[in-house]
Symmetry: none
Amino acid sequence: MHNTANPLNFEIINTGSELLLGRVLNSHQQWLCNELVQLGFEVARQVAVSDASQDIEGAVREALTRADCIITTGGLGPTSDDLTRDCIARLLGRRLLVDAKTLASLERYFAERKRPVLESTKVQAMVPEGSIVLHNANGTAPGLVLEISPNPFRHDGKPSFLIMLPGPPRELHPMFNGQVVPLLTARFSQIHPVTYRTFRTAGSGESQLEEKIRDPLKPLIEKGLILSYCARIGDVEIRIGARDAEGASLLDPAEKIIREHIGECIYGLNKDLLETVIIRELTQRKQTLAVAESCTGGLISHRLTNVPGASEVFMAGLITYSNEAKCRLLGVPLEIIQKEGAVSEATARAMAEGARARNSVDYALSVTGIAGPGGGSEHKPVGTVFIGLATPKKIIIRHYLNRFDRETFKNATVQQAMELLRKNWE
Amino acid sequence: MHNTANPLNFEIINTGSELLLGRVLNSHQQWLCNELVQLGFEVARQVAVSDASQDIEGAVREALTRADCIITTGGLGPTSDDLTRDCIARLLGRRLLVDAKTLASLERYFAERKRPVLESTKVQAMVPEGSIVLHNANGTAPGLVLEISPNPFRHDGKPSFLIMLPGPPRELHPMFNGQVVPLLTARFSQIHPVTYRTFRTAGSGESQLEEKIRDPLKPLIEKGLILSYCARIGDVEIRIGARDAEGASLLDPAEKIIREHIGECIYGLNKDLLETVIIRELTQRKQTLAVAESCTGGLISHRLTNVPGASEVFMAGLITYSNEAKCRLLGVPLEIIQKEGAVSEATARAMAEGARARNSVDYALSVTGIAGPGGGSEHKPVGTVFIGLATPKKIIIRHYLNRFDRETFKNATVQQAMELLRKNWE
């Protein structure tokens, strides 16, 4: 819902021909909008244009006629189709000057990598006169911030705050969080941030969760509580929010209701991921984990090892695609595979037991299933999966039917496996 | 690169507050752009606005001042925030009339489901005067097409073709393919489809590649060749295109120049991925692969097993995070780890040798390094990685310094490892 009370007009301009050719998905729009909403800002309009200078210039010029804050992404790099910086300098009649600090940082970046600094690379150190320069810790192109005041493009002459950010997400995200957020909150200090609490759940679908909390939360929603959902595969986010002090008083009772009705599904808060929660818990317990994966092909191990510090508690991952590897690396008896099949409760059990014993760990997870598109049968259709967990005291096996495409199958199964461990600490 | 020779101006307007709140990813933009490119159309601009009528009206009014074709998505349904149809009718001064065929189809739809037709539902049968009505085979809201001629919003009075489509993908996609495509090709029959060739490369940065092909391609670009780049971590896409028959004659000579200068970096065409190319090659050669991963934590195995049919050639993945696992599962001598370190050329070599011998495969890849943020030293800083490849005839070791955040480090390293195998088939 659009909040007309919000007096500020934010616009996002994503540049990049690849966006308009449909080559890549524009993930920046969602990411930036979501971050801005959490700060209390709402985006009125998002525009994507090609790399061509007339398209970039046209979009920025239009935004300048009405926006209090404009955020552009892309076009700050070294190649011939990186034109955002030049276009905007020209449009605003500002000279491009060498930023000595950026140039030095470019030279250091390339020296560390033992590569020469090309002339085309140095263009990234040219910044429009009057820019605040945002250092890029993960790349070479700095971000640029301009206060356009007075703003000749706006009827009322009101200023526009113009922020140019690099396109690659791993450069954009930390620059936004580390440097743009403080600038925005200082520049637009009149805004009352929306207060949010986010509960992350696994193991239940969006409708099932909604069914359980909708009615109990109704009275609070009528008093102004904001409630929203964001569903991914095997992972549903529930968010409650408030726009003012009165609304903020509803958050505690709302959280109580949510925890009462769906508490067992909540694995974390805010930006927690299941893998983060698991590595954190293992670390605190000083316990260890091994994983034996067949159909998930390494994705459980990959997700767990994304968490810094995983090496202290994650001992080994065995990706046993072949039957021979299941026997040799995990000690699964060949008779079990021959009698029950590689995709069976008995094999999942033997994999988990074997992985736990052979790696001398506290917990072992095992997964065996049919990811598809081939390999299914009437008795064991594509999507069949058995997940095993061996703990110090017991072995638990779960059976699911995850009827998705291959990649979604892997994602859904990994969530189920991690959730099984999260619910069975010992 | 935007080609100014293209006389047609297409614009997409996506409506939906959920887009601007960052609740959902805007997949319509990519999908529609990609479909239009294949028909020979390019989108000049894409805009997302909220559900509010003033926002929708503003975006459509602006597009009408310059676009030959405008495609809107969303806001055609029965609920109170579905305002696209009403806004556009009001903006154009067209009456809303009942479309008898749509009303009958609505009544049939609900009768089949044994549900009453609510008054709010019937609004979907109201269409702006003069509309072409597109039947919705997968929902209730029809698509609407209007020829705005003469166009009062455009200086030159040139007509605009305005297409309103429903928001849900399962309604939008078949309606576009089945009904909009024939309308577009008839209405804009003068368009010659753009021909593209895409080369996918690994192992070189965007600037390095551009440095090598820019000058040799210059004469062809001056004759109208379209050249563009799209860079991801360890993966740069180079695309050449032509807009007419004359331009198409430049593609063969351009491809020859590209292959001559950077041919060794090209691993595939169009939508190929490195893992697809590797699994395809292994399958054709009837050869097998095992992988021993330390710092990439399962990502090589995960990527390879995303490819359907991987189970025929990918035998096992060993994620040996601990030294003990490296010794036990791969047979790395403990003396090597103690003397040279777990992150060393000698360890990478022993891991690759061990993985190849123990799993009886033709090729084995090994990776050991420091993903960070912790674990670095002056001698071996964060980002240090050794990649090993054992083939039937030899062992190759590569040393890189991948100074990125943890996840990017993993992605970059996986590309380097797969590229090492791709270049060393035996």
